[in-house]
């Protein structure tokens, strides 16, 4: 069972409340500076990065090749005439009559067009960026310090499973185990998958969950949250850090299917919110 961080700090919190009782609302809504910075960084990345989901035009499997250009192309893009092909795992971008090898997991720009190849050879997804950029700013529930838990992962069978990541890419994840957290009067065991970072020793322990706010204030398909390791080998689950999959920002991304069992009975009013598009964006 992961313990609410608020209870670990109960004694010091009581002292804090004693001195801050004049501003309980402020205490409730106070977002820690590191999370504040993280959110500001993410907003700025969304607004300006070449590979931001707000700049994405299409996400398509490379398969037998993808043409980007005139209206009847796989990806219509006025003013561009490009083709991406894959042969024995090597990707080639042909644009303006010349070929260049396309790396994976790295945005490549040529004029107005930016593309990025994701996934393994033979199952490559091509993300096409460029043209007009959507404007959507992530927004969040007020900080909820009751939604932060600390504890250990309970190991399970460590089975390999293919899942869609937050950015809609299919990867082979490993079930790292479960974490148990309070859910109303009872508790819920949340499944944790280890999502590898291609080409590095790194990976993220992620939980994709739904809850009482899904489609009622938060994204209908669910939200992702990453477990943060602590120096003593335990983990912090901070549901204030729950974030939407990229399909919430741009419908060209495939949306991950909910992970079995990871549905809270109660509403988790913490982390990123979602408002359905009004069609006016």
């Amino acid at each position: 069972m992961l313990f609410p961080l608020a209870s670990v700090r109960f004694f010091s919190m009581r002292l804090a409340l004693l001195f801050l009782s004049f501003a309980p609302a402020l205490l409730q809504a106070q977002t820690p500076p590191d999370l504040e910075r993280e959110r500001a960084d993410f907003s700025s990345w969304m607004a300006s990065a070449l590979n931001s989901p707000l700049a994405t035009r299409a996400v398509v499997p490379v398969g037998a090749g993808v043409r980007i250009g005139p209206e009847n192309s796989d990806v219509p893009f006025p003013g561009i005439d490009a083709r991406v092909t894959e042969q024995r795992g090597t990707l080639t971008l042909r644009i303006a009559g010349s070929d260049r090898t396309l790396p994976r997991y790295r945005p490549v720009t040529s004029g107005e067009l930016t593309v990025m190849a994701l996934g393994e050879p033979g199952r490559t997804l091509l993300v096409v960026y460029g043209g007009s950029r959507r404007s959507k700013t992530p927004f969040y529930y007020p900080y909820n310090n009751a939604a932060v838990y600390v504890g250990a992962i309970q190991p399970t069978a460590h089975t390999a499973v293919r899942v869609l990541t937050l950015e809609g890419m299919e990867v082979e994840a490993t079930e790292a185990g479960t974490v148990s957290v309070p859910d109303g009067a009872g508790s819920i065991r949340l499944r944790v998958y280890r999502i590898p970072e291609a080409g590095t020793e790194e990976s993220e322990l992620m939980i994709f969950f739904r809850d009482g706010t899904s489609d009622k204030g938060s994204y209908p398909a669910g939200r992702f949250v990453t477990l943060l390791p602590l120096p003593d080998g335990r983990y912090r689950l901070d549901l204030n850090r729950a974030r939407n999959p990229f399909c919430a920002y741009n419908s060209v991304y495939p949306c991950p299917a909910p992970w079995p069992g990871n549905t809270f009975a109660t509403a988790i009013e913490a982390g990123e919110r979602y408002q359905r598009s009004t069609g006016q964006e």
Binding site: N51, R100, T101, E204
Partner: protein, 394 residues
């Protein structure tokens, strides 16, 4: 009028100098990973490129901008930056690099004056056989710990090479060592528990892997580097890639015919390949007159031959490399493996392929034990020399 203009200009110049003086010198820096602080050193001087150092091993950043109290360090090779604000004798900010799910940001802080060298305890020094344990799977590693002038140094070796030089400190029965070169963020923390070391290996901000280690008995713990990648030896080894000037170079080029050739599969982005380059250059200089050649097949980052060619030229100049470097592809192990159909089980950069005078593969050495591995590096150097001597004599 001139005097009036000069005074503010002089003041501006003085201010710039003062700001410059503010950053000059060594800084004891920290990346605050979720698993604890990773220590490294920054050596800065206004008007020069800053050095990012683990112990006495440094890599140079590509740009330093100081404006007022703001410091920006660019690490162009990895598309990474350190942004910080100077506050008296401290700097506070963040390290960030490009990510596909959002920016990867790690809190950064530093204080003036470098880290003090602390002699590590004797119980830690030496070689340890370790197992990394993740999701029920165990994979072998070897730790090498040394007492050096800058303090505790060492490295982590895997079946396919080492993780670069780690530097750190030990207190009582615990130790913490880090490796940060502007891109890779690794930290090894552990504690002595009886005769066993136990701890965590941290990679980046959010990955930590438990490990357990016992003192090495000398018996092999890792796979031999020559047992990892196989090769088709039934016919001559073939390659055909352009050099930085766009000229196609193949195994049939007269400079390789009838020679002993070392094919170095590498990338300029790969720190271990930087460790390997000086040795390969030394070997070329020593054996070239006796019929030895080297060709580097580079798997680069962008796939843009102009940009990748520039990186290759910089690499060639940096290490005074006398042998040809060819642009073979992009740095994707799986895709690279597909461009080398005569190799089986290609897994690591660098990989050294030794070709005999008959053009056939005689030996494939996966990975590279760099100078940080100490005795292992000496073993590798000896093995490379012996192999070349033997093939030259055939």
């Amino acid at each position: 009028m001139r005097v009036r203009l000069l005074v503010p200009l002089l003041l501006l110049g003085l201010a710039a100098t003062l700001k410059g003086q503010q950053i000059d010198g060594p800084w004891g820096a920290v990346l605050d990973l979720a698993g604890g602080p990773l220590r490294f050193s920054l050596y800065m001087r206004a008007g020069s490129l800053p050095n990012i150092c683990n112990g006495d091993q440094c890599s140079r950043a590509s740009r330093l901008v100081v404006r007022g109290d703001s410091v920006l360090i660019e690490i162009a090779d990895y598309g990474a930056t350190i942004n910080a604000q100077i506050r008296g004798d401290s700097m506070v900010g963040s390290y960030r690099n490009v990510g596909n799910r959002g920016p990867r940001v790690i809190p950064f802080r530093a204080r003036r004056s470098g880290w003090r060298a602390e002699a590590p305890p004797r119980w830690l020094i030496g070689r340890w056989d370790a197992w990394f344990v993740q999701d029920g799977r165990k994979s072998p590693r070897v730790f090498e710990f040394r007492n050096t002038e800058p303090g505790l140094e060492g490295t982590v070796l895997s079946n396919t090479g080492d993780y670069g030089l780690f530097w750190g400190h030990a207190v009582a029965d615990s130790f913490s060592m880090g490796h940060f070169d502007g891109s890779f963020v690794y930290m090894l923390t552990g504690r002595l528990d009886g005769d066993t070391l136990r701890g965590l290996f941290h990679a980046g901000l959010r990955t930590q892997t438990p490990w357990v280690a016992v003192r090495s008995t000398g018996a092999p713990h890792l796979k031999q580097p020559t047992e990892i990648t196989g090769a088709d030896t039934s016919s001559a080894f073939r390659f055909s890639f352009p050099d930085v000037n766009g000229h196609l170079v193949t195994q049939d080029d007269p400079r390789f015919r009838g020679k002993v050739v070392l094919v170095d599969i590498f990338g300029t982005w790969c720190p271990t390949c930087h460790d390997a380059a000086p040795l390969l250059t030394r070997l070329w200089n020593r054996y070239h007159d006796r019929g030895f050649e080297i060709v580097g097949l580079a798997y680069e980052v962008t796939g843009d031959s102009a940009a990748d060619g520039r990186q290759l030229r910089i690499f060639q100049q940096k290490f005074s490399i006398p042998y040809p470097l060819l642009l073979a592809g992009v740095n994707d192990t799986q895709a690279a493996a597909l461009t080398q159909p005569q190799l089986q089980g290609f897994t690591s950069f660098p990989t050294s392929i030794f070709i005999g005078r008959d053009g056939r593969v005689k030996k494939v050495h996966a990975g590279f034990w760099g100078p940080a591995t100490g005795p292992q590096h000496q073993v590798l150097v000896h093995d490379f020399e012996q192999t070349i001597e033997r093939l030259l004599a055939e």
